[in-house]
């Protein structure tokens, strides 16, 4: 589904992504973790071209995403992206947030788009909030709407960039539950997250990143049970202390 081939990116002199060559399979749930500044957010943002890269190749569903002549808007519309800060459109109702893109980009009528949006809001348990404005919702609710908004484009691939990091602890569970359901439904997912419980239970594989490199990759059991790299061992012991 996604292939990274020797991908490099710099912020000034800082080597943000350092020769990444990895592969994500269709239907796979991948969790990317690592200390802050390790490049995991940058990496996930390169997949839908929110971040340009300096060199290398990224292929999504067989398509080189930097090929000249690629319709970047159409390409992006087939990838769902969920942000840490939700980024709901504050001037539109919950329903309109979810119906906007399908109506504009998929040629759905207003009615069809709203029907699809309602079905998805139902799925994330927020059908009763359809007419509310985003500011009237809790963080957890907003993030569930953001997931529904992304799903409304029926993407075969979903990217999550720290989806629970901006939430109060009691709201993390509801968002992870939606993600869990999605994973069990066979969605291909890349999740940058520190939710180790989620990673253990749902992920097929875990990548550990540091200084723009993937230092370790493996099953959650292997990664959490016996991390190989000293930096990974230290990272896991650090986050366990805080829980």
């Amino acid at each position: 589904m996604i292939t990274f081939d020797n991908v490099n990116k710099y912020y000034g002199n800082y080597h943000a992504l350092n020769g990444i060559s990895e592969h994500v399979s269709k239907g796979e749930v991948l969790v990317v973790c690592g200390p802050s500044g390790s490049g995991k957010s940058t990496l996930i943002r390169t997949i839908n071209r929110l971040e340009p890269i300096a060199s290398g190749h990224i292929t999504v569903a067989g398509q080189d995403i930097h090929a000249p002549g690629l319709d970047v808007n159409d390409f992006r519309s087939h990838i769902g992206f969920v942000f840490q800060q939700f980024n709901l459109f504050p001037h539109l109702s919950v329903l309109a947030n979810c119906a906007l893109a399908p109506q504009r980009l998929r040629g759905l009528s207003k009615h069809e788009a709203e029907e699809r949006a309602m079905a998805l809001l139902e799925r994330v348990g927020l059908a009763h909030k359809a007419q509310a404005m985003p500011a009237a919702l809790s963080g957890g609710q907003q993030q569930r709407v953001a997931i529904a908004r992304a799903l409304a484009m029926q993407p075969p691939l979903m990217l999550f960039d720290e989806p629970t990091s901006a939430l109060d602890p009691e709201m993390v569970g509801e968002v992870l539950q939606v993600m869990r359901d999605l994973a069990h439904g066979g969605m291909t997912m890349v999740c940058v997250t520190h939710e180790m419980g989620f990673a253990r239970e749902v992920a097929d594989r875990v990548w550990f990143m540091n200084h723009g490199q993937v230092l370790e990759r493996g099953s959650p059991e292997a990664f959490f049970g016996s991390p190989q790299h000293p930096r990974a061992q230290q990272f896991l012991s650090d986050i366990r202390k805080s829980y």
Partner: protein, 230 residues
């Protein structure tokens, strides 16, 4: 003062109309209204060009904004007055001259307000819109500008109030707007300059103050709509 109002109120309101051309307060309101109406779309276009990702658009507009901002309105009016006929090949009336000058001058200022408004919208909004697959201009129109306009409202009102008062500079090219008419009245009456210019001041104040209040009301209504729990 009552006598003054009694004698000259019609002249003050509409100038020599209907025998002569429209003037007075009616002309001021018409000029200001048209200037607002035309400078807003111009300001939007210039503002968007100023922050456009395309350099060929951004650079010339940025230069134009710096040039016009660096000269007084009075000079823009003179330019419109003396250059416009050269450019179009025929004499334009004082009203058109003044309107063109105001639209250009205010369009430039509005462009900077638009830029600030758009840049005040969090970066994540454009990223979210683009991630859904919306093209840049479509994302601007449906997601960014509606939010930016709300940030811009106080500055817009400020600029609009300014525009109303700027119409008084039409005086300099003999446009019979309300300040011109007031000074004519003053010339006719001769003995009551304080009263005449007091009434003129009150007139501008009422125009501008009611615009501010209307904007304030709009702002509060917007804030309520955004928090609606449905």
């Amino acid at each position: 003062m009552l006598e003054l109002i009694q004698d000259y109120w019609l002249y003050f309101l509409v100038g020599r109309y209907p025998e002569g051309p429209l003037g007075g307060l009616a002309l001021t309101v018409l000029l200001a209204g048209l200037a607002l109406l035309l400078s807003l779309p111009l300001g939007l276009l210039l503002g968007l060009a100023r922050i456009s990702p395309w350099r060929a658009l951004r650079w010339p507009v940025t230069a134009l904004i710096h040039v016009v901002r660096g000269i007084p309105l009075l000079l823009v009016i003179f330019w419109a007055y003396f250059f416009l006929p050269n450019l179009t090949g025929h004499e334009s009336g004082q009203f058109t001259t003044m309107l063109v000058a105001l639209v250009i001058f205010d369009g430039i200022y509005l462009a900077e307000i638009v830029r600030a408004g758009v840049q005040a919208v969090p970066k994540g909004q454009l990223e979210a819109a683009r991630s859904l697959g919306l093209p840049y201009l479509s994302a601007m129109r449906t997601v960014i500008l509606p939010q930016a306009l709300r940030h811009m409202l106080p500055s817009l009102v400020n600029q609009f109030v300014s525009t109303i008062k700027e119409t008084s500079l039409g005086y300099i090219i003999g446009l019979a707007e309300v300040s011109f008419v007031a000074s004519q009245i003053n010339g006719l009456v001769l003995t009551k300059p304080v009263q005449v210019y007091f009434l003129l001041g009150m007139t501008y104040f009422i125009l501008c103050f009611s615009l501010s209040r209307a904007a304030f009301w709009l702002e509060r209504r917007q804030a309520r709509v955004l928090k609606a729990a449905a």
